[in-house]
Structure formats: C-alpha cells, structure tokens
Amino acid sequence: MLQALIIVGTIYVILLVGVSLWQRRGPTDSKSYLLAGGSLGSILGLFTFAATLFSTFTLLGMPDFFRVHGVGAWTFLAVSDMALIFGVIWIGYHFRRVALREGYWGMAGFLNRRYGNRLAGGVAFFGVFVFLIPYVAIQIKGVSDFVAQAFPDLMPIWGWSVMLVAIMLLYSELGGLKAIVYNDAMQGLVLLVVIWIVGLSCLSEVGGLEAGYAQLQEQDSALLTVPGPRGLFTPQFLIGSAVAILMIPFTQPQVSIRLAIMKDDRSMYRMAVGVGTFAILVILPTAFIGLYGSLRYPELSAFEFLGQALIRDQPATLAAFVIIGLLAAAISTADSQIFALGTELRSILTIEDDERLLRITKIGIGAFALLALGFSIVSSDQLALLARTSFAGTSLLAPLIFTAIFASPGTGGRALPLITLAGILLFIASLLGWVPETVGPLRLDLLLLLSLGIAAIIIVLLGRTGGEREPAHS
C-alpha cells in the first residue's frame, strides 16, 4: 500500500502546487490574492463552500458518531446543514447587500465599520481566533494520528502534521484564495468519490441496508433510536448543534468570505442548493461506514475502528485514495480557516499601503498555521465534539454580526461588543471547567446565545428611538 500511497500522494501534491502556480500568473494585489477577485461562479462556489464546510470530522468523526451514538448523528449534521443552506439564501442575501456596499475585506473589518468602533472587530477577531485555531488543530491532529497509525514505522505523528501544514502553506501562500478555491473543488470531488466507494464497500460487507440494520437491531437496538445508547443525542444537544451550524456561514470567516466573493446573488442561491445536495451525498455513506463499525468493531477506540474500516479492510489502492481523501478533507478546511484568519487580520489593520498590508497578512497566515500546528500536538482526539465546540463558540458572535447586517450603522455601539466578549469569555471558562457547563436544565452555550440574542434585540429596539433606519428588504 505504501507504494500506492506514494504514487497517488505525489500526483496529488503536484496538482495542488500546479494549480497554485497557474493561479499565480494573474494580478497579485490584495483583492486578487485575498478575495479571489470577488467573482466566484456557482459550481466553483459549491465545491469550495462544501470542501470548506465538510472537514476531517465528516470523514473521521461522523462514521464514529454513527457507530457509537447511532442514527441521531444524521440529525446532528445533515438536518442541521439543511437549516444552514436555507439560512444562506435567507440571511445571505441581506449580508451580501450590506457587506458588499460597505466594501468587504473580512467580518472583523465589516463590524468595525458598521459599529463605528474598533472594539466590535476586535471582539470578532478574538472570537474566531480562539475557536478556529483549535478547530484547525484537530483537522491536523485527526489526520496525522490516523495516518501515523496506518504507517506506524514511516514517520512520527508530528512529522505528518508538519508535512500537512507545509503543503497547505506552500500552495496557499503561492496562489492565494483563488488557488485555495480551485484546490477545494478538486479536494471536494476526491472526498465525495472516496467516501462513497468506502461506504458502498462497507454496506456490501454487512449484506446491504436491510440485513445490516436487522443485525444491528438484534445487537444494540439503542443505536437505531435517539438519544442513542450513551444518551448523547438529546433534543437540547441537537438543537444547540443545529443553531451553531446554522450560524456558520456568518460566524466562521472562512465560510462568510465565500458568500461575499460569489459573482452575484443567483450564483449564491445555486451554490446553496448544491451544498444541500452535497451534504446529503457526503453524510449518507458515513452512516454506512458507521453501521459497519457498529456491527464489526463495536469495542474498538475511534482511531482503531477507523484504521480498520477505512484502511486495513480496503484494497491497497483504495486505502491509498482514502488517505489522500482524508488529507484533502483536512487541508481543504484548514487552509481556508488559516487563510481567513489572515484576511480577518488584514481587515482590521488601518495601513494604507496595499503591498505592506499583503506582506503582513502573509506573515500572519504563516504564524496562525504554526500556532495551529503547535496546538494540534496537545489537543484531544474527540474530533466531532471539538468541532462542535468550535461551531458553538463562534456562534456566540451571531447576534453581533446579525445586528450589523440588519440594524442601522452605529446600533449597538460598544455595549453589544462588550456583552459578546463577556459571553465568549464565560463559554471559554466553562470549557476550562471554571464555571458549570449547564445552568439548570440548559447547556451554557445555548443559554449564552439566547441571552446575547435577547440583548441584541433590546439594544436594536432602544436604538430605533433615534438614528436613521436603513430600508429593509423582506
């Protein structure tokens, strides 16, 4: 298998770097480098949005979620993604209308302009930095752990992590967002094809859908219902996850920038429908792999199960493609996140010289990548749950962002950014175990989001007594 991996891997890296060099031939100003020229069509938009959204945790976390917690995993991700795509056409339209009129370089800069102070952008940047770095880290860690387990004598875990970050930085720094977008399209396709081949192979191993689920019913029927055998998928957990996922296009900068750079609204709408279809197609086979795992490997740890199901139980060439698919999934999300952090940094800087700004942004991207690499060495292996924490953390920015989109400029002043900062700090304190994770029957993340939402509504209503209101579209 090693030979197959080296051949497929070399072709893959050559393609990634080749695309970056090809994209490098165009203009090299900030707009081309950081915003891909701002004219993304629906097909390219679909693949880059999907590849950014569906990360390592889809390919590694979801099969394990289905295996350990059962069919409620479908609602956890697929149903939540349906809320997300409708949100894209509903709120995305308003977002683009306001953001593009203001001149969009990044969410933090956008908030600075809408709130009329630098605190709003600072809070947004702090929020995405604190919650995206661990998310990038788990992408790197997840794949590195997995590949190191598949080839225990080839390289240590940190060696795989360094290689992954080096490839990611090489093509991102070379070709900018346009290179990332084209590479995302390629990686999205690889991910989809690989996951279907493995999913169908797993399904056939258990004798098909009917036979597989009949066996599972006899073995552990709790996996076929909610909340699942370990009681994870309670309505509150699922609603909290859905709300956090619904907010992703606006609260995670690597996704919101993709809405902003779509060629026009029609492209964005088509892209949203395409992402919905992609979501169903990419999550369905993870249910088959999970079913296979529940039946064959119920007692193994997450990585042992994934190593068996995705590598050792597959033919050598397919296993090589699986590893490349995993690398693709990790890279396509992590590069966009690191790049978006750089773009966010650029959007809050007040330097006039474009060349200097671009240089600082590139240095920032490198620094963020190194930070994520460092964090990946110390993070845990709970991929899906850590990803959810990232979604929940950044979703706390939603009231701040939605107020900027829907209310008139200046509404919220410094009060809303300060309240949001307090909410983020409380959530971080709960993750560190300093404050309880639940308040009465409510999870803290949900309670904080509700409280911030109510605070934003009150501030907007109070603000309406004075100031000019922008015309709204229904």
């Binding site: 409620g72 609602t75 349906m82 409708f86 076929l224």
Partner: protein, 82 residues
C-alpha cells in the same frame, strides 16, 4: 412573476422551512427509543431524517426561484468587494 405573488410564495417557503426545521427536533422526527415504522430496513429516525433533508433541498431550490432578490432578474446585482 408579479412582485406581490413572488413575496407571498417566498414567505410561504420561509414559513414551511421554519416549521419543518422546528418539527425536525420534536418527537415527530425524533421519537425517543422508537424503532418503527421502518423503510427499506432503515429505522424511522434515519429514513425520516433523510426524507426531511430531500424536502428541504427542494424547498430551498423553490425558494431561490421566488426570492425577493430576484426582482429585476439579477440586473443590479454585480457587487464589488472593495
């Protein structure tokens, strides 16, 4: 399409999507510890969830056809990012 009709259909799509998403997290789609009825061997929670997703994709597509932003048929819609 007439502007008022378009807005009516758009609001209808939004209402339907909201109702479906609320129902998705109630016992209608997530009955606690209930296996059946099954479809092609799939447990209820899974097949009902898949069906819900298919309906949502179709609804989203229909919503894009009647979106108020379509008024003017995309003519004034080439925004700048800087």
């Amino acid at each position: 399409m007439h502007s008022r009709k378009r807005r009516l259909y758009w609001r209808l799509c939004c209402s339907l999507a909201t109702i479906l998403m609320i129902l998705a997290f109630t016992p209608v789609f997530l009955p606690t510890a209930t296996l059946g009825p099954s479809l092609f061997g799939l447990p209820y929670t899974l097949w009902a969830g898949i069906l819900l997703c298919l309906v949502m994709v179709i609804l989203t597509y229909l919503a894009t056809l009647v979106h108020p932003g379509r008024e003017g048929e995309w003519k004034d819609n080439h925004p700048q990012v800087d």
